[in-house]
């Protein structure tokens, strides 16, 4: 299923357009396009330009540091890395089953993370495109524009995110980069006072999440782009509970093909590397995972909200399940392949997380005191969870002295690498091919990448203020045109633009 536009036959004769950095995504990346003199697209690539090296520099560290250390991969979803590493470390101490309190507190923390991350993405990063149009005035197409024209909606977004962060803080001590997981369990549960504070506002969060799902559907129904923008077939993968329900925290691996047929199901995730391999390409720091049985050309897949809505048999909270049924009905109960459907799926998950938090806050185990389980020591551990952006793998080997000797992480955005490239190529071919490039057209490419909510470095983003530079370079390497957006949002055009 690999697109023809991955590598041009004669790149030297083509001119290069770079969208660098991509804006309103987490971290730093760029898109390059190679065009001929008629502006026909011959090559389109999403490049990840950062190199982190976590897998290397945790070698030599004691395993109990790992959940706290690796969460620094990300400033948006550190809880995901903390929990995935925590699950792997549980295996190292033989704690295959946690105490009910420890598992429920972890799940609560994870739901808080899902709520805050999805709210951040939709309201702060994606809604400007959806509310104002992909090629609307750039000065308006940002969170400040949303605040100015839809203040109630913007406030809901801020408060939903804040609530999710407060859930995390109550458990981990800090909104970002706290400590919670310890080998075999948790270092605290909720106190009754903390639980009661969170209970006070959860009803409002559920209601706002429900409203956001409805809003997103209305916007997509009214959008001329929705049925055609970035639509391409792919495989999908996620964790799935034993009964087929969506489960963000635990379960077996399920993969479906573009028609919805099972590729594998309920696979023990500790054996993930019997089913998934990673390919390296010379032009990106990010690997390209694929399903081994399908091969590297056809085995790539999508993960994240869209994948989870396509793989799950049902959601176990009533309002979100009702929304999921409507989502699947819109695709005639088949697989939903539209890139923009990621937004709709993401908000259904936000609602599911809010309902999940409400349920867990009513569970007496959430304030329990039995926090740590133990078992027989092991030298290898694998932890997999569904992070906001998709399936997240952490795999560690340690020696007899408790020191990490090998680590392998496949983060959610890595799983989506080929799919994001595919989205870029599909949009480039259908919207940019043969057209005179404008800022609005180039934003179509960013909209496609943004739909995946990629976490490119995981740690940095400068909301609405990231500068953008696009250069048009001829076959000889001469800059023939240049467009620059400054940190103040002002555009300058021409070869000598600052």
């Amino acid at each position: 299923m690999t697109h023809l536009l991955e590598t041009a036959a004669h790149p030297r004769a083509l001119r290069r357009v770079a969208i660098e950095p991509l804006t309103r995504v987490e971290g730093h990346g760029k898109v390059t396009l190679l065009l001929d003199e008629q502006n026909r697209v011959h090559q389109a690539r999403l490049h990840i330009v950062e190199f982190r090296g976590f897998e290397k520099f945790i070698q030599g560290r004691p395993y109990w540091e790992v959940p706290v250390l690796v969460q620094r991969l990300c400033g948006i979803c550190p809880v995901s890395h903390h929990l995935a590493a925590g699950k792997a470390v549980d295996m190292l101490v033989g704690a295959r089953t946690l105490t009910p309190t420890a598992e429920k507190v972890r799940r609560l923390m994870h739901q808080g993370q899902m709520l805050q991350s999805h709210a951040l993405h939709f309201f702060h990063l994606a809604s400007p495109d959806l509310l104002f149009g992909f090629d609307s005035e750039p000065a308006r197409r940002n969170i400040v524009g949303v605040i100015a024209e839809h203040p109630e909606l913007a406030l809901q977004g801020v408060k939903l995110r804040k609530y999710g962060q407060e859930v995390i803080k109550a458990i981990a001590g800090k909104r970002i980069h706290g400590t919670a997981c310890i080998p075999g369990g948790m270092n605290k549960a909720l106190s009754e006072a903390e639980r009661d504070v969170l209970r006070r506002d959860i009803g409002q969060m559920v209601a706002w999440s429900q409203g956001a799902v409805a809003l997103c559907r209305r916007v997509l129904d009214a959008s001329p782009h929705a049925p055609i923008f970035g639509v391409f077939p792919s495989n999908f993968m996620s964790l799935i509970r034993a009964d087929g329900a969506l489960d963000f925290y635990d379960g077996g691996l399920r993969a479906k093909d573009a028609q919805g047929n099972l590729i594998f199901d309920h696979v023990d995730y500790t054996h993930y590397n019997r089913h998934i391999h990673e390919e390296v390409k010379s032009w990106s720091y990010m690997k390209f995972p694929f399903i081994i049985s399908l091969g590297d050309a056809d085995g790539w897949y999508r993960v994240g909200p869209l994948a989870r809505m396509n793989t799950a048999d049902f959601l176990d909270t009533p309002l979100a399940e009702e929304a999921r049924r409507a989502f699947r009905a819109a695709a005639n109960d088949g697989m939903q392949h539209a890139t923009l459907a990621y937004h709709w799926a993401r908000l259904i998950e936000m609602l599911h997380a809010a309902e999940g938090i409400e349920r867990l806050l009513d569970d007496p185990d959430i304030t329990g005191t039995d926090l740590v389980a133990k078992g027989e020591r092991a030298l290898e551990g694998v932890g997999v969870i569904e992070a906001p952006r998709g399936t997240l793998f952490h795999h560690y080997k340690v020696d007899e002295n408790d020191v990490v000797v090998r680590a392998n992480l496949i983060v959610s955005t890595t799983n989506n690498n080929q799919a994001m490239n595919e989205a870029v190529r599909t949009v480039a071919a259908s919207y940019l091919d043969g057209q005179k490039l404008t800022e609005g057209l180039l934003n179509h490419i960013e909209v496609a990448v943004r739909a995946f909510d990629p976490c490119l470095s995981c740690a940095t983003h400068a909301l609405g203020r990231m500068p953008l530079q696009v250069e048009l370079v001829d076959a000889a390497g001469q800059v023939i045109d240049r467009m620059v957006k400054g940190a103040d949002g002002v555009f300058a055009e021409g070869r000598d633009a600052p």
């Binding site: 004691p62 980069h177 706290g178």
Partner: protein, 246 residues
């Protein structure tokens, strides 16, 4: 002179009483005045190697942890010059090792970190050394991370004088100085150290730690979460004074 006559000296203009034989540091802390320090633990003999507790006594610098209190002397401690020096010393300690507080299990309980906060260290003026010293995780219950060691010598002194084992020693000179273990292999597992040794209980940083304890105390309940080191040290010192001297 009658022993009943109350002896005092002046510290930053405040009259500080002291007992015969007390150091400037002990008298100040007993009076509720914090003097930053790292290598000194009041429960053990002072060493005066970190120089953070340096004060100006009658115009000359001395380490307050070993400087005897003398009636009538004029001592300066909380001055911009001395605090600048303490900040610089602390920053140098931070760059000489690999002190990655975000992932360190000692964070929140670490005297180096808490002292840096107390002194207002916001960033390092000096380039990081990024040393690569061996981690000794060979012992089933104890781990030694030399990259976090600030060479305060507490483990060396306590092992020698309290535990009577001489498990730890320092070797090398200057920047190459490091902790070594007295065992045939040079590893902790082959030494006489045990988890009950006093020497492994008092490391001020995350160099010498007990395995299996990491991150068990939640954020908000760690030692320096509840009170800054200036208040915590004084309170503990005063409680010790009451315990020992009534």
């Amino acid at each position: 002179m009658s022993p009943d006559i109350r002896k005092t000296f002046h510290l930053d203009g405040v009259e500080i009483p002291f007992r015969e034989g007390q150091t400037v540091f002990d008298a100040a802390m007993a009076a509720g005045i914090y003097i930053p320090h790292l290598c000194h633990n009041p429960d053990f003999e002072p060493h005066s190697s970190c120089r953070l507790c340096t004060v100006i006594v009658n115009g000359r610098p001395f380490a307050s942890c070993t400087q005897p209190a003398v009636a009538g002397q004029d001592v300066k401690s909380d001055t911009p010059e001395l605090n600048d020096m303490r900040r610089s010393l602390t920053e140098m300690l931070l760059v000489e090792g690999n002190h990655y507080c975000p992932a360190c299990e000692k964070s929140g309980n670490c005297r180096l970190q808490a002292t840096a906060y107390a002194l207002g260290v916001q960033y390092n003026h000096y380039p990081q050394f990024f040393p690569h010293r061996d981690v000794d995780a060979s012992h089933p219950e104890i781990i030694l991370d030399r990259d976090r060691c600030i060479l305060c010598g507490l483990c060396v002194r306590i092992s020698r004088r309290v535990d009577r084992k001489n498990v730890f020693a320092m070797t090398g000179r200057g920047i190459t100085t490091t902790i070594v273990i007295d065992s045939p292999s040079g590893l902790l597992v082959d030494s006489r150290v045990s988890r009950d040794d006093e020497a492994v209980q008092h490391c001020p940083v995350g160099a010498l730690m007990m395995k299996g304890e990491a991150f068990k105390v939640p954020i908000g309940e760690r030692r320096y979460d509840t009170s800054p080191i200036s208040e915590d040290s004084v309170a503990k010192f005063q409680a010790r004074e009451v315990r020992l001297h009534g």
